[in-house]
C-alpha cells in the first residue's frame, strides 16, 4: 500500500470515492482484514487504512479463488459447463444454471416448454428465499448475534435444500437446467412437499421479522451506516437488493420479463435511505414476495413436456453469432455473454458476476465509518467468493 492520495492527485469526478483527510496527530494504521477472516465469507482481503477507528481508505483484494472459469468453459462443450456454473455462486446453483441456459437459448433461439418455465420459477424463488435468509443470518452473526438468527435461517434452508436434493440429487450442486428445459420432471409428491414447505414460510418470515426488524441493536448498528446513493448505485452498475435498497426500481424479473414472470403478481420492495437496514429490509420483503410468486406458480403449474423436443444434446453447435442473457439472481444481475464461431465450444464465454461488481462501491460505503461497521457493510453486500474470483 502506498501513502494516502491527496485530493489533487485523485482525478476529479463525482463518481469517485471521496478523499477523507485524517485528522489529528499520528500515523495511519494499515490493516489487512483477511484473507482469512471470519467476516470475509471466504478468502478475501480488504487493505484498510485507519485513522484511529475511522476508515480512511479501503482497497479490496481478490483472486485467491481464481481458477479462470471462463477459459475452462471456452475449452469445453456448451453443456459441459452447466455443472461448472453451480460452483460460481454455490449458494444459488439453480439460478446460475438458469442464467446460463437462458443465454444459450437466446443464442440458438430455443423455446422452453411452459411446464419447464414454471419449474424454473419455483426453483429460482426457493433459491432466493434460502439465500436471503442465510445472508441475513450471516449479517446478524457478524453483528454479534452469535448463532440464533443464523440457525433460524438454516433450519428453513435445510427444508428447501431437502426439496432440491429429492428433485436434482444434490443439495447445493444441482446441475438441473438444460438448454430448452429441465433435466427431470417434478413429481406430484414433490409438488405436494413443496406446497407444504411454502405454506410454512410466511410463519418463518413473521418469526424472523419479530426477532429482528425492530431489534434495538440491529437498528442501532444498521441505520444510517453504509449509505449508498441511488445515482452512484446506478452509475457503478450495482444490482439486486443493493440497488433496490438504494431506492432504484429496477428488477430484471419486471424489466426483461424473462421466463413466465409476467404472469405473476408481485411487488418490488424499495429502500428509502440506502443504508444497511434498507438492504436488510428489502431482503426480508423480497422473501415475502417470493412466497407469493411460489404460491401462484404452484397453483398454476401446467402439465406437459419439460424439454423442447427439438433440442439437441449431441452435436450441439450454435450458428455463429453472440448473445447476452441475464436474470435477476438473488445477489443481483447474473449475466452470461457467449460468442459462437459455429464450433462445439463457445468462442467466448463470459460471466457477469453480480458479487464482484457490487463490490465496486465498497470503499465509497465504508469511508468515514468505524472498522467494526466495515464488517457489517461488507456483510450487507452479500457476496460469494466463488463468483467474485471465478
Amino acid at each position: 500500500m502506498s501513502a494516502v492520495e491527496t485530493k489533487s492527485e485523485r482525478e476529479e469526478g463525482w463518481n469517485r470515492p471521496p478523499v477523507i483527510e485524517p485528522g489529528g496527530e499520528g500515523e495511519l494504521l494499515e490493516v489487512a482484514m483477511g484473507p482469512h477472516h471470519p467476516s470475509t465469507h471466504g478468502v478475501f482481503r480488504m487493505d484498510v487504512a485507519l485513522d484511529g477507528e475511522r476508515v480512511i481508505r479501503l482497497k479490496p483484494v481478490f483472486g485467491y479463488l481464481h481458477r479462470n472459469h471462463e477459459k475452462i468453459a471456452e475449452g469445453a462443450a456448451y453443456l459441459a459447463s452447466m455443472p461448472y456454473t453451480d460452483r460460481l455462486d454455490y449458494f444459488c446453483s439453480l439460478t446460475n444454471n438458469w442464467a446460463y441456459a437462458l443465454a444459450v437459448e437466446k443464442l440458438v433461439g430455443q423455446e422452453v416448454p411452459e411446464r419447464a418455465e414454471y419449474i424454473r420459477v419455483i426453483l429460482a424463488e426457493l433459491t432466493r428465499i434460502q439465500n436471503h435468509a442465510s445472508t441475513i443470518g450471516f449479517l446478524l452473526q457478524e453483528m454479534g448475534a452469535s448463532g440464533t438468527p443464523l440457525m433460524y435461517a438454516f433450519r428453513e434452508r435445510e427444508k428447501i435444500l431437502d426439496l432440491f436434493e429429492s428433485l436434482t440429487g444434490s443439495r447445493m450442486m444441482c446441475n438441473y437446467m438444460r438448454f430448452g428445459g429441465c433435466r427431470v420432471d417434478v413429481s406430484v409428491s414433490w409438488l405436494d412437499a413443496t406446497r407444504k414447505v411454502v405454506s410454512g414460510l410466511p410463519a418463518f418470515a413473521d418469526e424472523f421479522e419479530a426477532l429482528l426488524s425492530s431489534n434495538e441493536i440491529l437498528m442501532a448498528r444498521c441505520q444510517g451506516i453504509g449509505v449508498l446513493k441511488p445515482e452512484l448505485a446506478v452509475n457503478a452498475s450495482v444490482s439486486g437488493p443493493m440497488l433496490r435498497g438504494s431506492g432504484v426500481n429496477y428488477d430484471i424479473r419486471k424489466v426483461d420479463r424473462y421466463g413466465v414472470y409476467d404472469r405473476f403478481k408481485f411487488r418490488v420492495p424499495l429502500g428509502d435511505h440506502g443504508d444497511i437496514y434498507d438492504r436488510y429490509m428489502v431482503r426480508v420483503l423480497e422473501m415475502r414476495e417470493s412466497i407469493r410468486i411460489l404460491e401462484q406458480a404452484l397453483k398454476d403449474i401446467p402439465p406437459g413436456p419439460i424439454m423442447d423436443p427439438k433440442s439437441k444434446i449431441r452435436g450441439f453447435r450454435p450458428k455463429p453469432g453472440e448473445a447476452y442473457g441475464r436474470i435477476e439472481a438473488p445477489k443481483g444481475e447474473l449475466g452470461f455473454y457467449l460468442i459462437s464461431d459455429g464450433g462445439p465450444n463457445p468462442y467466448r464465454y463470459r460471466v457477469r458476476p453480480p458479487s464482484l461488481i457490487n463490490l465496486t462501491v465498497l470503499e465509497d460505503m465504508c469511508l468515514g465509518h468505524n472498522v467494526a461497521d466495515v464488517v457489517l457493510i461488507f456483510g450487507s453486500v452479500d457476496i460469494v467468493l466463488g463468483e467474485v474470483d471465478r
Binding site: G63, V108, S237, I357, T360
Partner: protein, 242 residues
C-alpha cells in the same frame, strides 16, 4: 414480438441504425459502424472508433431519449492473427512459341491458372460493452471497441469516468487480456497476482506447468515445463539455456 434489431421492451423502439445516426449527429467526427449479429438473439452491435469513444459514451449516457445510464457488462474478446488461405484465379501474360503460318513465332498469350495465396489478417483485442437504461428500462445496446493490434498498440480509452461500473471490469480485462485502459484511476491486476507476466484469457496463452514439483513419469510434461521456464526472463531455466 419486436421487430428484428430493435431494442428494449417498454420504451420506444430504436434500431441500432437510428442510434448510429443519433451518435453521428451529436458527436462530430464519430466513426460508428453497425455490426449485424446473425444469431436469433438479434443483439446487433455498434463498433466505435476509440478516438471519439469518450464523447460517444457521454452522449449515450446523457441523451434524454437514449439514457444508457447502466453499464451492465464489460468484457474483452481476443481475435488472434488469422492466416487465410484462398484460391484465386490469376490471369497472366505468358510468352509462348506458337506454330504460325511462317514457322515458329513467339507470341504473348493469356493464361489462367489457379493460385493458392496466403494472407494474414491482423488480429486485435476487443472490448464489448452491454448498456442498459435504468431510467427508460430498455437495452441492451452493444458497443465494441478494437485495439490496433495485439502486441504494442493495445490502448483503449477508459470509460470509468462515464460509468463507474467499468472500474473492476476494466481491471479484469487488463489482467486477463492485456488491454491498457488509458485514464483508468487504478489500473492493476485484479485476479492474477502482481508479478504475473502473461495474459491468461488470450487464445495463444500457454499454461505454465510447474509439474516438476510433483513426481511425474511423463517426460513430455517435464520438457514443457522446462520450455516454459526458459521463456521467463531472469529465471533459472533461462540462465541454463543461455
Amino acid at each position: 414480438m419486436l421487430a428484428a434489431g430493435s431494442l428494449g421492451l417498454e420504451a420506444e423502439l430504436k434500431t441500432v441504425e437510428e442510434i448510429k445516426a443519433a451518435i453521428e449527429a451529436a458527436v462530430s467526427g464519430a466513426q460508428v459502424e453497425v455490426l449485424r449479429n446473425p444469431s436469433p438473439s438479434a443483439q446487433h452491435s455498434l463498433r466505435v472508433a476509440h478516438e471519439s469513444a469518450l464523447e460517444v459514451a457521454a452522449f449515450l449516457r446523457d441523451d434524454p431519449e437514449l439514457a444508457f445510464d447502466y453499464l451492465s457488462n464489460l468484457t474483452g474478446v481476443d481475435w488472434p492473427d488469422k492466416e487465410i488461405t484462398e484460391k484465386v484465379k490469376v490471369t497472366r501474360q505468358v510468352l509462348k512459341t506458337v506454330d504460325g503460318p511462317e514457322g515458329k513465332v513467339e507470341q504473348t498469350v493469356e493464361e489462367t491458372v489457379d493460385e493458392t495465396r496466403k494472407r494474414t489478417e491482423p488480429g486485435c483485442l476487443e472490448a464489448v460493452y452491454h448498456l442498459y437504461s435504468v431510467a427508460k428500462k430498455h437495452g441492451p445496446l452493444v458497443i465494441r471497441m478494437r485495439t490496433a493490434n495485439r502486441t504494442d498498440q493495445v490502448e483503449l480509452p477508459s470509460l470509468t469516468p462515464i460509468w463507474r461500473g467499468a472500474e473492476f471490469q476494466e481491471r479484469e480485462i487488463f489482467d486477463l487480456y492485456g488491454i491498457v485502459f488509458k485514464g483508468h484511476p487504478d489500473l492493476r491486476r485484479i485476479l492474477m497476482w502482481d508479478g504475473f507476466k502473461d495474459y491468461p484469457m488470450r487464445k495463444d496463452y500457454v499454461e505454465p506447468d510447474d509439474y516438476e514439483y510433483e513426481p511425474t513419469a511423463h517426460d513430455h510434461v517435464l520438457a514443457r515445463a522446462q520450455e516454459h521456464k526458459s521463456r521467463e526472463p531472469g529465471s533459472k531455466g533461462a540462465a541454463e539455456s543461455a
